[in-house]
Symmetry: C2
């Protein structure tokens, strides 16, 4: 696979490589005779020339490559985010290189190093617990970085989040205004601030409320979600609950919980009301339409790319954080 270069064109056209470069890049300032232009384009066409962006990158110090680090690209939320980022990036001429951190700080660090060696112009990352140092180092060398979905305490990286605590608080208040006997919060055992925000929002609403309602928490690890949720729901909710509400703080948790409800033939919303953070196509197979909190993924992607591109080209300050609003989509699972 021998590719033709600018040099080949120059030789064939009997001009210098500089001229070829000028023509191919359609620079305005330099005026080159229509004749040579035409000849150069024709030759480029016939020898099937494709520019070597690597060579260009070396000179211009821009690769037009963006690194994306998510926890796991096969996770629905992240693959949808990746898709949106891809589209927005492409519009500005960037392509995405992707890595999954598996919630592992060491792997996260390795990926940032790898991407930095590949000279990506910037990175969009969903940082994992324990990766504060890695982010700080990137900030320190002024590497353009934007966080999405998550953020880390004590590190001021520009990024996009949603109003996790607020929306959790508001939806929990809605729940409290109904007269449930019991409300169960199903969340993660985690240190990730954005997930804790959801929990704190829930708790804040509970404390502010005058209702006497039994509150229970189910917290599970990031693995074996289904099994853990099932067994804990069995303890906390039982097989024939009445007048209870379930608050799932992620779509994965919700799916696990809903499958418990299906298996035990528990009726929604007759016996149990359900609200979930995040959506998923999976809800469509549940007999009742699920009330969920919708993240503005497209807007998040758009803002992330904009913020990153701004940093890369020095438009934007590097401590800008953008908070977007999630939205409650009310459906029948809630009574």
């Amino acid at each position: 696979m021998k590719r033709s270069s600018i040099k080949d064109i120059a030789k064939l056209a009997g001009v210098s490589v500089a001229t070829v470069s000028y023509v191919l890049n359609r620079k305005e300032g330099q005026r080159i005779s229509e004749e040579t232009r035409k000849k150069i384009f024709e030759i480029a066409e016939t020898i099937n020339y494709t520019p070597n962006k690597i060579a260009k990158s070396l000179k211009t110090n821009k690769t037009k490559l963006l690194g994306l680090i998510v926890a796991d690209i096969s996770n629905e939320f992240y693959s949808l985010m990746a898709r949106n980022l891809e589209d927005k990036a492409l519009k500005l001429g960037y392509t995405l290189i992707i890595g999954s951190s598996d919630e592992n700080a060491e792997k996260f660090k390795k990926l940032t190093e790898l991407f930095s060696q590949q000279q990506v112009d910037g990175m969009i990352v969903a940082p994992v617990a324990g990766s504060e140092k890695t982010l700080e180092n990137l900030m320190h060398i002024k590497y353009p970085v934007v966080t999405i979905d998550r953020y880390l305490k004590g590190v001021t990286v520009p990024g996009i989040t949603i109003n996790n605590q607020e929306i959790a608080e508001n939806t929990t208040s809605l729940l409290l205004n109904k007269n449930f006997d019991k409300i169960i919060y199903i969340g993660y055992e985690t240190e990730l601030p954005h997930l804790l925000d959801r929990q704190h929002g829930f708790e804040k609403a509970v404390h502010a409320s005058k209702k006497t309602v039994e509150i229970r928490h189910i917290l599970v690890g990031l693995e074996n979600i289904a099994e853990e949720v099932h067994s804990q729901l069995e303890n906390t909710l039982g097989k024939s609950p009445e007048n209870t509400a379930l608050y799932f703080s992620s779509n994965k948790l919700a799916v696990a919980g809903l499958s418990y409800l299906v298996k035990n033939n528990i009726k929604v919303p007759e016996q149990v009301s359900v609200i979930a953070f995040d959506e998923t196509e999976t809800y469509h197979l549940f007999p009742t339409e699920i009330t969920y909190i919708q993240q503005p993924i497209e807007a998040m992607a758009e803002e992330a790319i904009k913020l990153l591109d701004g940093q890369i080209n020095n438009y934007t300050a590097t401590e800008k954080r953008v908070t977007l609003s999630a939205k409650l989509i009310a459906k029948a699972s809630f009574k």
Copy 2:
């Protein structure tokens, strides 16, 4: 963001850049005094040196970048495939750059051009209808390419497929051996050979059978799957079917069909039996466990990377096609 280079290290260490390069790359042949080695490593460490792979690439003609083109990275099948490819690629030191073609031949072509300009060492592609020419061109310039999931008629690109026709035929035979009154095949209106293979497998089994059973086809476009499947199932299956089998040729179709069953309270397998091609987490919210055909995604990813790496390094012939076997996972949806 000024990065330090090999030159900086050389200057600081008082040696040549050649020496630094040798040390950092731990070349065996060249023996360099332990003293200078140590000094160079220390300096590299203190000035926080990271190699510029772009520069290396220009010289070595290897970027360690692989292009992945799928129809849509937010599609569950492809994001899972991407994840597996990512892992396998990383083991060989490659990173993945990703693009979604949206089943659009023009966009597919654009992505191959973009990736080729980025000098990816090879591409893993799920070709779209009408992209024969694009693939041929890549083959012609001997660009390392491997197809996954799909293939195209008349183009001999190395690639990985599964035994679509055979597994479809076998599972259909199973269906025919039961005494259903009616069997409905739900598939796509498409020219994509791998999907037609599934349909042909179904039809082959039907023709070979001596049973008299009513056979119906539902073929839908790639968009508005849910609506189309719903309305056509309403016509073909009705609201209270008996002794009927549904054969879905993809997980998306299956989800659309299952949601119809849920909505109309049709019991599986009492009234209707179900078999689906491909799995999805979504099945878990259906009251009955779904019988499905499982693609060996991990093995496909592994073979794809192996095949591509082989081409890149000239181990493998460039017309090798690998066919892996899908497996029927029998569950309760089938009686």
